[in-house]
């Protein structure tokens, strides 16, 4: 009995301290990766632009000014104005808001669907696992962008419905990853020990399984953010993104495209903004992956 006691305490504390060690080490490695640091810096710049957009914008992004239509860049309008006389720089800043909001909040839906399904499938196994994973296969086989467009056109509504449309399609990767991690973690001695000690299944999942999947999930989410940003831009581009007149980079591209020969800056700047944000997140994601798991080679995510 006496010997069992330290043994019973150690699995949980050991698990916690080991994962903390991995993250501390990972963060140190991350800060030594120049591309990842550059990505982080860019993301911070975009985040600041998004949060403080109302303060930083010289003009109201939706206010139309018929005295200044389709102007080129000038001292008054740094990036020019669109065909309704709206200030392109102000719209770009507010567009960062839309993009980052969709990028981040969609992840909650993706995780909210994917993690429970992955945990259930991996931990319960057997028939339930089979059923859930066949479901994942079917959703996975769906041409995702088409399905999101279909859902979006049917759901209608505001920005929340965009999170939902993307989330309902994009959770399969998270579910697969979670299931795989659960399958490997449940073989670990400390989980066997927790089961032997009579730990309830939900408690074991939260206490022992979840901490172990945080790292890989973080990497996956870092790659899913730019994907969601891209999907939002695409939706807005074809006219079913955030409802107008709210500024979105995709909408700006679509609005500006008719004037591409006259005022190409209206298309160029939002396009560059989308490209830069996606690059930044990819750099960070690559860095995170290498930092958290040095065994993974630099292949495709």
């Amino acid at each position: 009995m006496k010997e069992a006691r330290p043994g019973s305490a150690s699995p949980s504390t050991q698990g916690a301290s080991r994962s903390a060690g991995i993250y501390a080490l990972g963060f140190r490695r991350l800060t030594h990766n120049r591309l990842a640091v550059a990505g982080m810096a860019l993301i911070i710049i975009f985040a600041v632009a998004a949060v403080f957009a109302p303060l930083l914008s010289p003009y109201n992004p939706v206010k139309q000014n018929y005295d200044a239509i389709s102007e080129g860049p000038s001292a008054h309008h740094w990036l020019g104005t669109d065909q309704l006389g709206r200030d392109a720089f102000s719209r770009l800043l507010h567009g960062a808001r839309t993009s980052l909001t969709v990028g981040f909040f969609t992840q909650f839906i993706i995780l909210g669907i994917g993690v429970p399904i992955g945990i259930l499938a991996g931990y319960l196994g057997g028939r339930i696992d089979n059923l859930l994973m066949r479901g994942v296969d079917i959703v996975y086989a769906f041409p995702d962008l088409l399905f999101i467009i279909l859902l979006r056109s049917v759901l209608g509504g505001g920005i929340f419905m965009i999170f939902l449309a993307i989330g309902l399609v994009a959770w399969t990767n998270v579910a697969r990853l979670t299931r795989g991690q659960v399958l490997s973690v449940r073989q670990e001695d400390y989980v066997t020990a927790a089961v032997a000690l009579g730990g309830a299944t939900p408690w074991i999942m939260v206490r022992h399984v979840l901490p172990n999947i945080v790292g890989p999930l973080l990497v996956l989410v870092t790659f899913a953010v730019p994907r969601a940003i891209f999907v939002e831009a695409t939706l807005s581009y074809i006219g079913i993104g955030v409802p107008p007149p709210a500024p979105s980079w995709g909408t700006m591209i679509q609005d500006g495209y008719t004037l591409i020969f006259v005022a190409p800056n209206l298309v160029l700047f939002p396009a560059i903004a989308i490209g830069t944000v996606m690059l930044a997140f990819t750099f960070l994601g690559d860095g995170l992956r290498d930092a958290l798991d040095p065994r993974i080679s630099r292949g495709r995510a």
């Binding site: 591309l35 066949r134 296969d137 079917i138 086989a141 769906f142 041409p143 995702d144 962008l145 088409l146 399905f147 467009i149 279909l150 859902l151 056109s153 049917v154 209608g156 730019p226 891209f230 831009a233 695409t234 581009y237 074809i238 591209i253 495209y257 591409i260 020969f261 190409p264 298309v267 160029l268 396009a271 560059i272 989308i274 490209g275 996606m278 690059l279 997140f281 990819t282 750099f283 690559d286 080679s297 630099r298 292949g299 495709r300």
Partner: protein
């Protein structure tokens, strides 16, 4: 092995049925239908139209009818194009979508593999760094964004190429380039990693040691083995290319299947939506299967049980 692929082929049926069922339910999720226009039609007209197209039947019956027809290759009628069947409309779009997709894929392989090879052979030289940078940047930027940058440079500034349309060969260049960039980057990355690994093997050292010309060692001995990992990602790449093409079609006004889908969604043309979704899903499933098949042919070490 034949059994494995037969199983895979058979598994496609429930996947496609599942996809069609989900699509069907989503399409009918909300009230309204193909007749909800800005100019309201008289209720009696709508009723007649619904009866004519079987839209007043219970949902399950509509789905069963649809499934039966589809199995016979008949995707039903389009509500936009009253004079043609959905099958005919989709078949008209397929060659366009396929042309861009295949062109882009050929470019991706033709540029990506040599790029990765050169990077590996000239490991840690400026050529290597340059190709790695290229791969990193283009793997992150979607074709959709690249399309606008390409249009700006080659159509707006240089006036070399048209901004879009269909019919002339020069109209293929920009869409194919925009579509090819991403897979090119991935293929270059994987080819480089694979080549580096192969070049470290003993048999390569032996080949060099017995005095073979470097070109012979690289092409005859190394490339073949390095291509296997490239082939592995070909399936997902091709699938991504097929779905990615839909937005490229949108940007360059190419009348392919992707445009038909978007049109269908906006006009709530159930037949067009279903037809194009099934086309994309079917192509993706088939491509993945094909790549697995090739994979096992190329590498005799791989056995599917």
């Amino acid at each position: 092995m034949g059994k494995y692929f037969l199983g895979r082929l058979l598994w496609m049926a429930p996947v496609l049925i599942g996809i069609s069922l989900i699509t069907f339910l989503v399409m009918h999720l909300v009230p309204g239908g193909p007749w909800s226009r800005e100019k309201q039609l008289a209720p009696a007209v709508i009723e007649n139209l619904n009866r004519r197209y079987g839209l007043d039947d219970p949902l399950w019956k509509q789905y069963v009818v649809f499934l039966g027809r589809t199995l016979r290759g008949d995707l039903g009628v389009s509500y936009i194009y009253q004079d043609r069947s959905v099958t005919a409309i989709i078949l008209q779009g397929v060659p366009k979508t396929a042309a861009i997709g295949l062109l882009a894929f050929t470019v991706a392989l033709g540029v990506g593999v040599p790029l990765g090879m050169v990077a590996a052979i000239r490991h840690n030289t400026w050529m290597d760094y340059l190709s790695v940078q290229f791969a990193t940047v283009f793997a992150a930027i979607p074709g959709f964004i690249l399309a606008f940058l390409l249009i700006y440079v080659f159509a707006v500034q240089l006036h070399w190429l048209p901004t879009g349309g269909w019919g002339k060969p020069q109209q293929l260049v920009l869409p194919a380039a925009a579509l090819a960039a991403l897979p090119t980057a991935y293929i270059a990355r994987v080819a480089r990693a694979a080549m580096l690994e192969v070049l470290g093997q003993d048999y390569i050292r032996t080949a060099h040691a017995k005095g073979l010309a470097p070109a012979v060692v690289y092409y005859r001995h190394a490339l073949k083995n390095a291509l296997i990992p490239v082939l592995t990602i070909t399936g997902p790449e091709l699938a991504a290319l097929v779905t990615g093409s839909f937005i490229i079609e949108q940007v360059f006004s190419i009348p392919g299947v992707g445009r038909l889908f978007v049109q269908g969604v906006f006009q709530r043309d159930y037949g067009l939506i279903m037809g194009s979704v099934l086309f994309y899903a079917g192509v993706i499933a088939l491509l993945n299967l094909l790549v697995d098949l090739l994979y096992s042919l190329v590498d005799p070490r791989i056995r599917f049980g």
